[in-house]
């Protein structure tokens, strides 16, 4: 449980991390931008103050052409330092201890960041010219004035910090809202998963009904899962029901057979009887037991054939040779076996096999005989007296087909769907009058499917039913067979 992964949490975390990264980048960009904007404003105010200092350089009231600094009307920033000098190095006025900075020759104002008495300052160095008495004939006296003016940078930093703080708080607030909203939305978006899980949880051995909720079917990511679940459960339910039906049918068959044996013996022991009566009773009981035995044998055969195929195929791979048998021989055996029954009903069995081909079936000869004789017996049972049953083998490169046609009443559509199911007799009462336990064709189907073949039953155009068995086989042409025999 500790290593469990939550899609909701993962999605929310991913989105939040992305948002956080972009917010950080944004704040960095804002810091740089804000710094340059604030610095520009700062510089503008430096220039303005420096120029107002320049303007404050006035003619002295004495007769000389000296100048002085008239600080009235000049507003300095807090903690500002400045020094105004004329060309002779005479300090006209100063506050604090501004450093000695030399202006560029171009005359453009110079900006410089420096530390003064433990504080970061930004200085402007402005060189200008003041003309005293410009109205005089000589054009007045020119004074070159150098102004160094600086104010602490602390203010810019403060502005930038304020701006960044505002953005940071706003971003954090937005992130919080996003996270909550995301968690809610994702959870809501994933609700079809929960509904599907709830629906799937209700499945139990008693209730196999599963209908994927509409919400899951509408979700394109969940649709394949819902459909797969539905299909898998439907298959399971079918096979479960089949199994249940088989068990109950088998129980019914066995109980009936046991009831017959038991009643025969109990009837015999009801009172003292003559030796003849005992003899007859025992003979009948033996017959009844033989029937029970044959039912059990057929069930066991079916169970053996329905064992998982991989064990069979692995052993089959090693003994492929022993597991193939000649279809021609098998058919001959089957016809021979059923001869007494056929004669009883005056039925002729006609076998058509192309003389040049012999088909090797990829199955055990015992199973092959069981297959052929069961199909033949079924055809004989459904034929009227004096009819003909036709067996034919056709083969091409990879498939061999055995067809058995009878001249009986044919097969109804309803029966055709179920005739290969165990114990199906085409009559709900499972009357045994027609003979057999209803396992013969199921055994045929199991044999065919095991060997990768198929079996089907249809109505013949001429009336009667036709059973077709198809097998993947190798066909041995007689000529090559005889050639190889000669070679030996």
């Amino acid at each position: 449980m500790k290593s469990s992964v939550s899609i909701t949490r993962r999605l929310v975390a991913t989105v939040l991390i992305l948002e956080l990264l972009s917010a950080a980048a944004l704040i960095a960009a804002i810091t740089v931008h804000e710094w340059s904007v604030q610095l520009e404003i700062f510089d503008t105010s430096l220039v303005a103050t420096a120029e107002s200092l320049m303007g404050a350089v006035q003619d002295t009231e004495d007769e000389g052409d000296n100048v002085m600094l008239d600080m009235r009307g000049v507003r300095l920033a807090k903690d500002a330092v400045f020094r105004v000098e004329d060309q002779g190095g005479k300090v006209l006025g100063s506050t604090g201890e501004p450093p000695h900075l030399v202006a560029t020759t171009s005359g453009a104002p110079l900006f410089r960041n420096l530390r003064v008495s433990g504080r970061d300052y930004r200085f402007i160095v402005l060189n200008g010219t003041r003309i005293v008495d410009p109205g005089k004939a000589n054009g007045g006296v020119r004074h070159s004035i150098a102004i160094v003016y600086g104010t602490p940078l602390r203010h810019v930093w403060h502005e930038v910090r304020e701006a960044v703080r505002f953005f940071a708080i706003a971003t954090a607030f937005l992130l919080g809202i996003t996270a909550a909203l995301m968690a809610w939305l994702v959870r809501k978006g994933l609700s079809p998963v929960h509904e599907l899980a709830y629906e799937a949880e209700r499945i139990g051995p008693g209730d196999w009904q599963f209908h994927a909720p509409e919400s899951a079917k509408k979700t394109s990511e969940l649709r394949p899962l819902a459909a797969a679940l539905e299909a898998a459960l439907a298959r399971l339910q079918r096979s479960f029901e089949q199994q249940k039906r088989f068990t109950s049918d088998a129980a019914h068959e066995l109980k009936t057979d046991v009831a017959i044996v038991k009643s025969s013996l109990q009837l015999l022991s009801m009172r003292k009887r003559t030796l003849d009566e005992y003899g007859q009773g025992l003979a009948l009981s033996l017959e009844d037991i033989t029937r029970l035995e044959s039912t059990v044998e057929k069930m066991l055969t079916l169970a053996r054939l329905e064992q998982p195929a991989e064990r069979y195929s692995s052993s089959a791979a090693s003994q492929t040779c022993s597991l193939s048998c000649s279809l021609r021989d098998v058919i001959a055996d089957a016809v021979h076996q059923s001869k007494p029954f056929a004669q009883l009903k005056f039925i002729e069995v006609a076998v058509e096999i192309n003389a040049n081909t012999d088909v090797r079936l990829p199955i055990d000869s015992r199973d092959a005989l069981l297959l052929c004789s069961n199909i033949l017996l079924n055809a004989l049972q459904h034929s009227p007296d004096g009819a003909t049953v036709r067996m034919a083998v056709t083969a091409n490169d990879d498939t061999a087909r055995l067809t058995v046609r009878d001249q009986g009443e044919g097969i109804s559509d309803e029966d055709r769907d179920h005739v290969f199911e165990p114990f199906y007799r085409g009559d709900p009462s499972r009357s045994r009058k027609s003979g057999g336990t209803g396992l013969g064709l199921s055994i045929c189907k199991a044999i065919c499917e095991r060997a990768g073949g198929s079996i089907e039953i249809a109505n013949d155009a001429l009336g009667g039913a036709v059973v077709t068995v198809a097998f993947p086989v190798k066909v041995v042409a007689s000529s090559t067979l005889s050639a190889s025999l000669k070679a030996e």
Partner: protein
Amino acid sequence: MRLLLVEDEQRLAENIVAALRETGLAVDHAADGEAGSLLAEQGLYDAIVLDLMLPGKSGQRVLQDLRRRRLHTPVLILTAQESKESVVNLLNAGADDYLSKPFDLGELLARIKALIRRAKGVSTPVLAVSDLELNTVQQTVRRRGQSLDLSPTEYRILEYLIHRPRAVVSQQELLEHLYDFDWEHHSNVIEAHISNLRRKLNLAGTEPLIETLRHRGYRLREEAGSQ
């Protein structure tokens, strides 16, 4: 007593019929639901043994049709299904008893006899009318404590009459209930048996028990004051 067996399994039916006949019951056999329904609805039978899985018409439907026609013949069901549900359904549909296959033949016979007895309003296997005592298990008859030796047919006639005390039972009814379709029907057979039975019942110092009512039938008398 005459009984109908509806069972499609030929060998099982043969055995049950043989066993029932050996205990002195007349038995008819129907091998499918349709025939079973037809026979059962004639109302001739004192009990019906019905298999559930029948060709043509299921045992359940045979039973339902029988009850719909207001025939109250006791019905015992033979079934190979064991689910509680189907047993409950059967009893609700009007079955009187059931046995699941494979059953014990002796138990089947005992249950059938009990059903017949109960249907005729008797709950013990020993029936008594005035000084006559009839044990249906041992199939013995005593009058005033004295054992009587009756032939099987005589016993069956007496058993039938004793189940219907004071009622007039016609020859036809006796024929219908004592013989199945495998027997030849001759009413004078009954007359002969009755006269033999009367003779054997007639002990010294007793009144005749069986009355003959001309053109109507026979009646077993209950003597007033004898008990």
